[in-house]
């Protein structure tokens, strides 16, 4: 990732890269049409196209000062089912294997960046931002849903409580952010300042908070939509025990990583890949929160040993290709057709989420008396939404059959817009914050 950031991109290189992609597409067409040979679509072809397309699109974005990540997403959208359909939905599904590795590495890296000093320094702003995000965005979006009841067809016949329950579900997902995007942009820009620390802290804390909140809201929504289903506190109890167990598992594996890096320290890449897949499989089997386990493990490595640099270097050397595949696959999964069907509603909800997020940040930083830079640009990291939000929408799809499919489509459409513009906004925010720091000096 670091080399990527240092790559000098000029117009000539971008033009050559685009020409290279055109040669590939032309050869593809020549073999299939005039030569009449059928090239069977397979996951390797999809993966190769996404990697190369991602590199080229990333370069184009870099030329215009945009994050490479936007290019990766763009490549996924162009080659994916929504546009050219060279990479179809089956292949996207097959490539999800890379996502486990990507998410594990993102969380581990985020945990490694979490130092005790950083937490102490930003403690006030992190605490205040956490509750303001939950309260302002949560209540704001639920209220908006209630107000907009006449214009949302699938809640037209529902009672006020039911609409509030559905709105609360949507609002909980709206509170969630994208740790992957934040870590990727910070890795690309290599910026370390209060905004970077704040964004990293909040995305990780909110990830855990949203999971708890979601369990409560889901229970409420299920009981209000189908009265025969009583509210069960068992699920909440289970969730709490899983979170405690996740923290314990993260601590144990963090200590294990320290031991390995301190005393064995060979084949680090293989070790990181093995532990990423192994621990993800374990988390999935035991229903632990994978992100939390890896963040805690990273936190333990960075704060209780001197091995964090080794770990970060290894992750960075692995992450470049994994990130491209992760975001390009995410781009290919975005459903642009659904977005076009309900674009007015999606636009209103997206704008409302952005406004409530901005308000939450502003209130938090005013209370915490944070630096002016945070008050001004604090909202920029939190517009992006990705894997977690889509994952929650899928749970709604399955568990709340009454409105699940409709609300999932709505969430994915909002996520699509947020994921296109969020990274651009965050990079801009980081650059502006650096300018403010420089002007102070």
């Amino acid at each position: 990732m670091s080399d990527n950031a240092e790559e000098k991109v000029d117009l000539k290189l971008v033009a050559k890269s685009i020409f290279a992609i055109l040669i590939i597409l032309l050869s593809f067409w020549l073999i299939e049409n005039p030569l009449g040979k059928d090239i069977q679509r397979n996951s390797l072809l999809a993966l190769g196209l996404l990697v190369l397309g991602g590199i080229v699109a990333g370069r184009i974005c870099q030329l215009f000062g945009l994050p490479s990540l936007t290019g990766y997403l763009g490549a996924g959208m162009i080659f994916g089912p929504s546009a050219m359909n060279i990479v179809d939905s089956n292949q996207v599904e097959q490539l999800r294997l890379v996502n486990s590795l990507a998410l594990a590495m993102i969380a581990l890296q985020a945990g490694c960046e979490f130092t005790k000093e950083m937490l102490e320094k930003n403690f006030k702003s992190l605490i205040h931002a956490t509750w303001t995000h939950v309260v302002v965005v949560g209540i704001g979006m639920t209220t908006l849903f209630i107000i907009m009841k006449p214009w949302i067809d699938f809640v037209g016949e529902m009672s006020l409580i039911q609409v509030a329950a559905v709105g609360a579900l949507f609002a909980t997902v709206a509170v969630s952010k994208s740790p992957a995007t934040v870590v990727a942009i910070l890795g690309e820009t290599r910026i370390k300042n209060p905004l970077a620390d704040h964004s990293l802290g909040i995305v990780v804390i909110l990830d855990v908070v949203v999971l708890v909140l979601f369990a409560v809201v889901l229970a409420f929504a299920k009981s209000s939509l189908s009265p025969e289903t009583p509210i069960s506190l068992n699920a909440l109890g289970h969730l709490f025990s899983e979170i405690i167990a996740s923290i314990a598992a993260g601590t144990f594996f963090g200590l294990f990583m320290i031991f390995y890096l301190r005393f064995i320290d060979r084949e680090r890449m293989l070790f990181v890949v093995a532990i990423s897949y192994g621990l993800t499989a374990l988390c999935s089997y035991l229903h632990y929160d994978t992100l939390l386990v890896f963040v805690v493990a990273g936190f333990v490595v960075t704060n209780f040993s001197k091995q964090a640099d080794k770990m970060i270097l290894t992750i960075e050397s692995l992450s470049s290709v994994v990130m491209i595949v992760f975001f390009a696959t995410a781009g290919a999964s975005l459903n642009l057709l659904d977005l076009t069907k309900v674009w007015q509603l999606v636009l209103i909800l997206t704008v409302a989420r952005a406004l409530t997020t901005w308000l939450a940040e502003d209130v938090a930083h005013r209370i915490a008396e944070s630096p002016k830079m945070l008050r001004k640009f604090g909202v920029t990291p939190f517009i992006s939404q990705a894997g977690l939000s889509i994952g929650l929408s899928m749970i709604i799809y399955e568990r709340v059959p009454e409105v699940g499919p409709k609300i999932a489509t709505l969430i994915i459409s909002v996520v699509t817009i947020n994921q296109i513009f969020g990274p651009i906004l965050f990079k801009w925010g980081l650059n502006q914050s650096i300018k403010i720091e420089k002007s102070k000096v």
Binding site: I23, I24, N42, L44, A46, I55, S320
Partner: protein, 371 residues
Amino acid sequence: MNAILILLGMFSLTLFVSNLGFLTKVHAFSFLSIPLALGIIFAPDGIIPILPSTREDLSWALKVALTWTTFLAGTQLSEKTPHWGHLFKLLPIFLGYSLFYLISLLLISYFGHDLFQMGFIKPGLYTPEALALALFISSALFSSQENPFLLSLVFVSLFFIFTPPLPNFDIYDLTFPLATGLVMGAVCRLIISPNAQLDTPSRLTLVGLVILGTGWTVGLGSLEVLFGLSLGWALSFIHKYGICQDPDLKSSDIPIRFIVALFAGLYIKMTLTLFALGLTLAFCRLLIKFLLLNSGLRRAKDIEILTSLLPISKLALPILLSLHLSPFAGELTHFILGVFCIGYITNDALTLLIELYKRSVLTVPETMIHE
């Protein structure tokens, strides 16, 4: 996910065994025998069997590994391009090879009785299929580190082995992957400048090209190793790329070859016929090589014998495995792969014994040991 975990576990075990102090000091031994043997043990028909689905789930990773290892071999092909000066050196080897071919033909016609019975090839010593099968196995086994060009006979034999009712190997199966490699070479030339270092963007581009080309060749139903060789050759020969000379790139070959060998073992179902044929051919190979050396037809220093002449070409195993993963896969490719792998392990074990025997009189330069 389970498949990846199992592979990672086996790979770690292989690395552990290969890093044992004793083995790291020898250099005639190729190390690939260890993952090969471990693969045979863990094969679905082995002593500690894994599920066939576990193996199949990861075949896509194996295909990329095959392309990558042949791509790296391809980047070194231009250094080994034969010229007239080599002819004098190569003639005795081809003479020895002819003898080995005859022995292989006799042995295959004797041991391959089951194969004839099953109807994979037409019975008889002089049928084109039997002749081509012997050509295939003998050239793969007789190839050495100094003479990988013998492997071109492997591809020639495919035209005669794979005739109806088996899937037909035609000229497009040979030319399409080679052409794809050249196209990808041109694409690489556009994306990475020839003076570029092997940094993250160029590494990523190479990985992307290799994966894309592999998917492309697999989609065409052809052999991905041909694409890998062609891409490697195009980059190193036409463009004289700096990145191809990077030691980091070359060092990535070792773990990949381990994966290839491990998987090759996983595809083997051991039978007495395979074992006897592989063992006998490996013995004959060594005898012929020493016959050439002792008769004075081929002169070489001890260290040259141990590092170049005796070890089987590292390209042979990927080519055979690629064939077994292609649409041409069947009992025949299974037989070929099995014989080759047994031959490979036997050859490795024998060369190791020879080295141990000669070690007391050998003075090996320090640099060679580290290589």
